[in-house]
Symmetry: C2
Subunit: 332 residues, 2 copies
DNA sequence: ATGAAAGCGCTAACAG
DNA sequence: CTGTTAGCGCTTTCAT
């Protein structure tokens, strides 16, 4: 059944049926009711492709995500999808991994499907290098970056102030008397977030009068084992540190395992406040980077942008430290 | 730029252009090349909506997922999306949660978007109760159930033999001399998988000559704390058990926390072999339910079904036990 | 408030 | 091998 059938059965023209489909107010109450009744009887649904062709939109947004199997990205996508759906948009998901070629390819696929906007989740920019694909995409549809930043027209960034969070981590440890802090970061996440976090650490050290010790800043592969091995090695080499800050919960967990094996129990602060922070024992104190705030904000901004309104090109949200067993702040 | 523009600039008709778009072999090599050249110059991409309207397909499949923020479902969706994309299909994602109304709603949204097929991931059926929405959906597009089963025409089920896995768990524990086994299961997951697992446990008990003790079978809410509290209470009430099997890693983790607090160290087997099994210490032995097999299988079957081929309506894959620190099999 | 009709961009049968 | 043309189902001016 199509719009013509409905029109015929309701004794009106297709134009009128189209109007009620689109909630056009200029239809008399009675004819509207009659048409709706016929639609209901027939179980009619407008053909989405035809509508898309006419309106040049199927109300879909693309999410380009590094990997939805990752706890953090998965949570972001979950929040975004629900938020978008609540506003009448469906989500086309692409898990691109982190090779640039794959990201470009996914971006093109989304554009070809004519999505109304694209949200990037953890599909980090190659710092300073080639971001032309983003420029190109932003020329076609508004782009939204979750926890990343790029100064591109028609691009909106919503992020957590991770630099500040890391500085605060250093401050808290310092105030607890810990000056020798091991910082573990993810060598893969070398885009916006990674740089921000490291800068935050460095500023924290400076602000608290601690001399930066390059021997205490370690890049490791993303994973439990790499972090565990690195920390074990440091321990065996008698490298001196009294607390650990990690750029990712997973690294903190690896570090914790190493400490456990060596019978140690040092303060640790993780990052992302993911499920695994609650799983381990002692439970991991971790920085929450506020996905529950960032994602709804993003869907709101997206909606405003698409419905003709305006949105700020950058929003920065403060992080919050979730204190569990591996570290607690002193009263400041 | 549209197909007419390309046709004009290439000095051919739109039909010929359409043919090269669709890889129709009946185009001479030279004209094809000329047309492709013009397309490239213009950066032309066929309008997906118009194609969709003509072909009645945009090559998109819907994934209805309980929650992509869940490690297990997230991994499934990740594998499925990549598999589908490799076969030329994009994915529309809906995270429905587990209320029936929401699932129906999502299902309708996907159907309205005219997806070519729908995959259900953990959006369990309400056992025995109303599955008419699935029947209705299957009447429109092929349905694929990951780790769930329903005997509905045009519905294909790919699942892990979790009953057998649970029986094997009991056998392994029994062979290790453990007869008093506490079984913790998720009270939410009361659909196909939950029943299968419980049945597997019961058969395992029978097969190994163990009398079922209702006091050792416990349904708890999905989460670390509920499991932890339950096990703590059992411990404090001196309930006697020498090993724990859980229907979900998260419950196993909760149980482990309780044991730790009581200074105990009993064998534990979790389920799903998720990241958290590796995170905790001692690391959790866990049943792998083979998403890495199941998901590619599903995308293959989906592809075959859509491209006119046939696919079996049910595929059962054997699970495998991943042994870590909380339990190891004896040589049988 | 409603209808007639011209698109939207592409596909596919048919004719040559 | 290529072109003509009638749809696909809906939206949207422009009349009335």
């Amino acid at each position: 059944m199509n719009i013509h059938g409905i029109a015929e059965r309701a004794g009106v023209s297709v134009a009128t049926v189209s109007r009620v489909i689109n909630n056009n107010p200029s239809v008399s109450h009675t004819t509207r009711e009659k048409i709706l009744a016929v639609m209901r009887e027939e179980g009619y649904t407008p053909n989405a492709f035809a509508r898309g062709l006419g309106l040049n939109s199927m109300r879909m947004v693309g999410i380009l995500c590094r990997d939805v199997a990752n706890l953090f990205y998965g949570q972001a996508v979950s929040l975004l999808e629900r938020g978008l759906r609540a506003k009448g948009y469906n989500t086309i998901l692409c898990c691109s991994g982190l090779e640039l070629e794959s990201k470009k390819n996914c971006l093109n696929l989304l554009l070809q499907k004519k999505v109304d906007a694209i949200i990037l989740v953890g599909s980090a920019l190659i710092e300073k290098s080639d971001n032309s694909h983003l420029n190109d995409a932003a020329a076609r549809v508004p782009l939204f970056l979750i926890n990343s930043y790029a100064d591109i027209p028609n691009t909106y960034c919503v992020l957590c102030d991770e630099a500040e969070a890391m500085s605060a981590n250093v401050r808290h440890m310092s105030q607890a008397g810990i000056k020798d802090i091991l910082y573990l970061h993810d060598m893969i996440d070398w885009a916006w977030a990674g740089t921000q976090k490291l800068n935050g650490i460095k500023r924290g050290l400076i602000d608290n009068g601690i001399t930066e010790n390059p021997g205490l800043i370690h890049a490791v592969s993303h994973g439990i084992e790499p972090a565990k091995e690195r920390v074990s090695r440091l321990l065996e080499n008698s490298v001196n540190f009294a607390g650990i800050i990690a750029s990712e919960d997973i690294l903190a967990v690896g570090a914790q395992k190493a400490l456990l094996e060596h019978g140690l129990n040092l303060p640790i602060i993780g990052f992302n406040n993911s499920l695994i922070a609650q799983c381990v024992s002692p439970a991991l104190t971790s920085v929450d980077n506020m996905l529950r705030t960032i994602c709804p904000l993003t869907t709101d901004m997206l909606y405003n942008t698409l419905e003709g309104g305006k949105a700020p090109s950058k929003v920065l949200v403060a992080a919050s430290l979730v204190e569990r067993e591996t570290f607690r702040r002193r009263a400041e």
